[in-house]
Amino acid sequence: MSEIDLRDVARQLAARGPRVTRRALLRQGLSGAAAAAILGASGALSPGGRSAGLSPAAALAASSVGAGPKTLTMAQAGEPSTLDPQFEQSGIIGTYLNAMMEHVMEFDRNLSIKNVLAQTSTPPKDGVTYRFRLRSNMKFWDGEPVDAAAVKFTYERGLSKDNRAKGLSDPVPVLQGVDHVRVVDPLTVEVVTAKPSTLAWPFFCQEFILAPKHYESLSFQDAAIKPMGSGPWRFAHWTKGDRLEMTANADYWRGKPQIDNLVFRTVPDASTRLAMLERGEVDIITDVDPDDLATIRGNAKLRAEAALTTFRVHIGVPCNQAKWKDRRARTALNYAINVDNIIKYVLGGIPKERLRTPVITPGWPNAGIKPYPFDPAKAKELLNAAGFDWNQKVTLYTITSGMKRLDVAQAIVADLKKLGMSRAEVQVLQSADFTSKLKAKEFDDLYLNLLGAPSYGPIEVALPTGDLALDSSHFTDATQNGPKYLEMYHEVRETFDTRRQHDLVNQLQALFMEESAWILLYREAYLFGVNKRTDWRPTSYTRIHFWLPDERDARIIG
């Protein structure tokens, strides 16, 4: 059959007229497949996709260098499920909303609290009333004023039992213990807590102020995709799973930002993000793998940035479990794990140093607490003294997301095995399952966790209590120091005297570290790849913020 000329076949097929036969059906089937390809290729089947492809901001994203509107494009691994800040509290939603919405106050780059919407902020004289005088002439994008009524509306929406029954999960008013919000005059508002609580203060840096008329007029379903803020960039368009586009807010109270278009792309694959950065399709990429740093540093157009976050990576030790009930067994883990080596070799030295205490805000850590040295002999001695059964199974639960989390877990288990725990193993859990176990305090063995808190000593000591974040160590109910810790913690919550606060926070750190309910490791770092034409740096607390208090906005300089 090799004598058959395929060109003849094509010519003769073309010359034939249409006939409705089985043969024609086969042909049409093939043609249909080809047509599907062409139709698909033209994008005709994709209404959402076409809008993403043709919108002006997106078109600019690929070629934002040069004259004309300036566009900054960032590629991240994920995206929020909603843009309603009172329905989701993930880090990723903060990334999006920090550009569009504002808080009454905000952490600056040095973790100090600065006024943003507030012109003046007054801590409570009576222990419960926080007073804010807002700046004048601030407006949401639709022209509605940013005033005391907006603050009151935001808090009441967040506290409403009806709303919470429908899935609203805003933690801020609950954590602050807000009782009610009082409008003193159009620009003065008082937030009143049910009982004295010094912890309320930094949480004002977390509650995005909403536009009352806009959010009252929308169902929760619509509010999830139609945000309204007062921030430097206005929401323009969101193609879920692909990109969210924002445009500069010309009426912004701090002035129009230099970047005209801000585009957030959702790109789950790390190597794809890196390729996009190298090619110039995006200006900033998040969640860079430490192994890719050499590629970024080797490219003259790029630079790497690291944000040492406020997340404390630690091994949670469930003190209620038989094998870890004895304090000596828990303390031994501090000596058994070579944290410095993990930082140096597994994490490439990026987290800089081992954590000494769970308190990290400058001025608050207890200077008397020193990190444990790596001393396997001491660890063995303590474990033997505690009657530790060396043949029992020891499991370290972990998730895989985060910087080299699984590698770190494996390095820890390797240290435990070297020590003599021959049945030590890593067990990987899905993120949702890990969180469920934390919430239910159900971990039956070691777990590799990280916890964050607003940067403020009295709040940071709340972490081990489970009041503020998820902890499964049972420190407060299964250790000797636990009850005393709780008592002092409640005192610090109600203490507004700074000297007394420092004294209590110091004592609390000592009590906690004595029990070794957490084996503190390091501060989680987030790595970014950045195009050098972009004048932007990540921050410790919010990580991604394009216009911090007392700074100028992020810029395109190339």
Binding site: D5, A37, G40, L45, Q221, P268, D269, S271, T272
Partner: protein, 305 residues
């Protein structure tokens, strides 16, 4: 014929129901959705209240029955994470997945058959050997590796095409090629071997002996008969393409149903997972049913009993 069709349709319904029960059961067994969905600072009491409110404390068969009774009326419920109707969410993403899988299917069908025919008609030639190498490679390389290589070569090095995202023909080329690579290779191999078998058959020799033109012998007598096994494969390709789309969508940041479903599974968004599974399974079953029914049209020897 009618009896056969009714029988197959009933079987299809059973398959979809079975798939949905299994997926529901697996999600149910994988942990407490209330704890996964609750806010980080919720107390145990709040989580218990939420569990009750959402009906997660009911037996699994009651929850499943509730889902089915609503689903048959077209109401798949509201996403627990996005707070929007799940059917709306699926339909928002479906065009992107159809665009990608449709194009990949077109590539795999047209290119696979063409390469197979060329290879068979030029047996042991350079073309044939090249196609054999290509098909061997195509079947050995996983889609994530093909995707990454395509990005490195055609987007990063040569700069001909965009790396990721949606936005017209140029954005579609790389993901569709990556996704269609494996089925192209498989279809080419099957078409080649099927063609070789048919080309040696008596009726083809007879057709040539009658003096029929080469193209008519090739396409009218040989290819038509050789295509029967390929039609089955093409139907199965749909299943492969839909599952492969999950990985391809992640690599190329393609906003399709695959990524939405994976996120829903990880986030224990039960209504969304169930709806996605039912819709995709129903689509796959329907395509297979249609193909089975087409056999009688394609090959008159096939009788439905």
């Amino acid at each position: 014929m009618l009896r056969y069709v009714v029988h197959r349709v009933l079987l299809a319904v059973l398959v979809v129901a079975g798939v949905s029960i299994v997926s529901f059961g697996l999600l149910f067994l994988s942990g407490d959705p209330a704890a996964a969905l609750a806010g980080d600072n919720w107390t145990r009491t709040q989580i218990d209240e939420f569990r009750h409110q959402m009906g997660f404390d009911r037996p699994w068969y009651v929850q499943y029955g509730d889902f089915v009774s609503h689903a048959v009326r077209g109401d798949f419920g509201t996403s627990l994470r996005e707070h929007r109707p799940v059917f709306e969410l699926l339909m928002e993403r479906m065009p992107a997945t159809l665009e990608l899988t449709g194009t990949a299917f077109g590539i795999s069908a047209v290119l696979g058959i063409a390469l197979g025919v060329v290879s068979a008609t030029r047996r042991r030639s350079l073309y044939d050997r090249a196609v054999l190498v290509l098909t061997l490679a195509g079947q050995s390389m996983p889609v994530f590796w093909v995707g990454t290589m395509l990005i490195l070569v055609f987007a990063v090095r040569l700069g001909w095409l965009p790396i990721a995202g949606m936005g017209g023909l140029s954005h579609l080329v790389l993901p569709a090629t990556a996704l269609g690579f494996f089925p192209v290779a498989r279809n080419a191999r099957v078409v080649r071997s099927s063609m070789l078998e048919v080309l040696g058959a008596d009726y083809v020799r007879t057709a040539r002996a009658k003096g029929l033109p080469g193209p008519r012998v090739l396409l009218g007598h040989a290819l038509r008969n050789a295509l029967l096994p390929v039609v089955t494969l093409l139907a199965l390709d749909i299943g492969y393409l839909l599952s492969g789309a999950v990985i391809t969508e992640s690599i190329f940041a393609w906003p399709g149903v695959g990524r939405l479903t994976v996120a829903a599974v990880l986030g224990k968004d039960l209504p969304l997972v169930e709806a996605a599974v039912v819709v995709l399974a129903a689509g796959f079953v329907m395509i297979n049913l249609t193909v089975d029914l087409c056999y009688g049209v394609i090959d008159p020897r096939v009788r439905f009993e």
